[in-house]
């Protein structure tokens, strides 16, 4: 089985992991309850989409 010949240095490891970032999701205000929500997706707080009740509200 192929195995690494050399130990990976801390520097290399940390340089690689410095590119591992999270991205901020795009959010819009719900027209019904003004909570931030994902665009084109039913609001999880009030459960409406396009002012139509789609799912049960979480609160």
């Amino acid at each position: 089985m192929a195995v690494p010949k050399r130990k990976k240095s801390r520097s290399n490891t940390r340089h690689r992991r410095s590119q591992w970032k999270t991205a901020v999701p795009t959010l819009v205000a719900c027209p019904q309850c003004r909570e931030p929500k994902l665009p084109h997706i039913a609001c999880s707080a009030c459960g409406t989409y396009d002012r139509r009740q789609v799912i049960a509200p979480s609160a």
Partner: protein, 170 residues
């Protein structure tokens, strides 16, 4: 050259895909609305709408064709007795897909697919209708259809109960 089916391939084999879609269609007609992944909802929509079109035809041949997909006779009966007549004057677009928050666990994009319950509003334009004869008529009806939607936008702080009533009216 055959045109590939639009949308994602489901399951592990064509037979599995067929079974998944048949089960989803059965559940949709049984419950009226189902929650599933967005990819499955997008594949289910054309199949379900074709089955409803067959149910609107209502004859024995159509019923046998539907029974090859939906194996449950009780569900096929509700489809032909209730769902088909309900959509008698609706020219297609019997189902609605609404995206909802991604699933906890695997972050899969989820959606709710439902049979449209609201009565048909506005002018129905069929493909065979002559556009020359009816120019003034559709414009007036479109304004009427949009009026209830415009009303809630004026007051953004409407409570949930009021919004639900508005949805029912609409």
């Amino acid at each position: 050259m055959p045109q590939p089916t639009k949308g994602a391939r489901l399951g592990g084999s064509p037979a599995h895909e067929k079974l998944i879609l048949a089960n989803l269609a059965t559940s949709l007609f049984e419950h009226g609305r189902i929650k599933t992944t967005e990819a499955k909802a997008r594949r289910l929509r054309p199949l379900a709408e074709k089955l409803i079109t067959k149910a609107k035809r209502g004859d024995l041949a159509a019923r046998r064709q539907v029974l090859t997909v939906v194996r449950d006779k009780g569900v096929v009966h509700t489809l032909f007795a209730e769902i088909g007549p309900k959509f008698a004057d609706r020219p297609g677009g019997y189902t609605r897909i609404t995206k909802i928050e991604p699933r906890k666990g695997d972050n899969a994009p989820m959606a709710i697919i439902e049979l449209v319950q609201e009565p048909l509003v506005g002018k129905v334009t069929t493909r065979k209708a002559e556009p020359v004869a009816e120019v003034a008529e559709p414009a007036a009806e479109v304004v009427e259809a949009e009026a209830p939607e415009a009303a809630p936008e004026v007051a953004p702080e409407v409570t949930e109960d009021v919004a639900e009533e508005a949805a029912e009216v609409k």
